[in-house]
Point group: C2
Chain length 376, copies 2
Amino acid sequence: MIFELKTTDSGSKARAGVITTGHGVIETPIFMPVGTVGSVKAVTQEQLRTDINAQIILGNTYHLYLRPGLEVLSKAGGLHKFNGWDRPLLTDSGGYQVFSLAANRKIKEEGCMFQSHIDGSRHLFTPENVMDIQRTIGADIIMAFDECPPYPSEYRYARKSMELTHRWLDRCIKRMAQTEPAYGHEQTLFPIVQGSTYKDLRTISATEIAARECAGNAIGGLSVGEPEEDMYEMCGLVCDILPAHKPRYLMGVGNPWNILENIALGVDMFDCVMPTRNGRNGMLFTWEGVINIKNKKFATDFTPIAESTDCFASRQYSKAYLRHLFAAGEILGMQLASIHNLAFYLELVKEARKQILAGTFAPWKEKMVPQLKTRL
Amino acid sequence: MIFELKTTDSGSKARAGVITTGHGVIETPIFMPVGTVGSVKAVTQEQLRTDINAQIILGNTYHLYLRPGLEVLSKAGGLHKFNGWDRPLLTDSGGYQVFSLAANRKIKEEGCMFQSHIDGSRHLFTPENVMDIQRTIGADIIMAFDECPPYPSEYRYARKSMELTHRWLDRCIKRMAQTEPAYGHEQTLFPIVQGSTYKDLRTISATEIAARECAGNAIGGLSVGEPEEDMYEMCGLVCDILPAHKPRYLMGVGNPWNILENIALGVDMFDCVMPTRNGRNGMLFTWEGVINIKNKKFATDFTPIAESTDCFASRQYSKAYLRHLFAAGEILGMQLASIHNLAFYLELVKEARKQILAGTFAPWKEKMVPQLKTRL
């Protein structure tokens, strides 16, 4: 994996770059749609490529390991072959899901015991087998196995958890060095900075992670309930420590203004279920602000869903029709809202990149943030 | 509306024709995807046009009248404008839905009182207002308001019901003559033959309906639970009475072999929720037979869903992936199965037409029917 830093904004720490992987290039800053179980919910791979212009999508180790399972994925030749997505792919390590979804989890030095949320079956995730699983899934970018502490966490717990994450990271790095890519293309490990909302812990963690000299670095444990200001403070602090010539990935963030603010702090990569999950509930993000399409006032609003976004879902369907689809419980409503929101998110980071390259990002961001927050 | 009969098969009563409407032409025999509330479930209008090659779709008067309602549809300029479907559109009269979905329905000479299945509100459908409603929806082909008796029905009831349907038909014809198209394009009324499974009633009804000299005719009250043989017998009897130079529409039928058998009897138009409803439950129709994609044996079957059907959903996704989507409850599974099934249905009638034009329909149909029924 190669990261080429094209430019850094003069008025902020925003950067524009290019990541090259075995499945093609990614222009940063980038947003990565989430395909938890190997499908970006309610969206076809065709639509991801042509309408949404996704450059990289996510898969989830926890979900994919449980269903369809490694035997199927291995026989398929990896997730790329299985789901027909031929562009870059990143897999989350399963750490976050084990702590948020699974039952009866027990964290030990060795790893984490848990019960499947599907059938209650017992499993053990270790740094080693999570690397092996991600090799088998076949992601281009593989995440380290970490513990993601909840918010708020007591200082003692956050520190212990962070230290465990660092020890697990060394085992991940070792395992990756001992094993080969599963399907010929390169597979690159990203470690994850933790440390909850404690500045000294975040400083320690970022310093430790930077010292591992991996090809890219991630920031975890944010956007888990803490105030937005805390998220920005932690993110800015960590970005300043992580090396500038490596991509920085802020995990699980966020709404459109979160994305712009964190780009300004030096983040290059984002993922979040918000555009799809909120879309399925009728919340639309646009350049002009946020729309709750279920609102009665849209019943006879025959203007396009979002004329400002260059996507068939946004332009060819009216607000009134989309509202009707939600009122009638039609699946097409969830499809159109998901496609629009993802197309908008990809347009947002594309425009941010353009502004960074033009040297106009900082004032543009200041103008955009209040606009994006507007309730329409 | 113009119907041009191109040819009639020498070995059966199958016909190939062309219907010209205000929204373009329809090549018959044709299958019409069902868009109950103005959306063919889980399918975009784009996919209907380009992947499925639908030439005409259905809307449902009962559902559209209740939601979004006439005010919205009228302000939108009709359903074509509201849902963005610019090809021909047919609306069911609501008769069938009032009898199958609504609560506390009371049939009187005037019409039918019923309560909405959504909110219990009380409504009256009469032949006159159902014509007005369909005018407002803006369909190219409008169905007469009929009573659809259940199967089995006693002879006395079936006769009384048929006679009421005939009296209602005359009121529909009168109302259509007194009113203008709502949006400039022509709107054509099709009357409906009833008579349950009684040969003498079907003969009377078909004769009465033929005598009205409408531009096209429909056969209702079949595929409601009667044995397949009864359906074919009634359909054949009615087709022989209905005029040859007008299109014949068999309502609510059916599976792929039902369609071929009824084409052989002289039917030109079909609609059915089966490809979408059964698709959403994992049942796939293919040229080789019927697939239950949830079956465990498809877990590692990486062959395309249906290589034999020319559609991205059928060819670019594997059976194993589709099975996984159903196992994981992913919406994309319902989307792909619906698109594949509809694309197959449209391919089926297109191929039937080709065989009719080539004079090879009868032996081809004999070969296809057992194949289509095969459980794979």
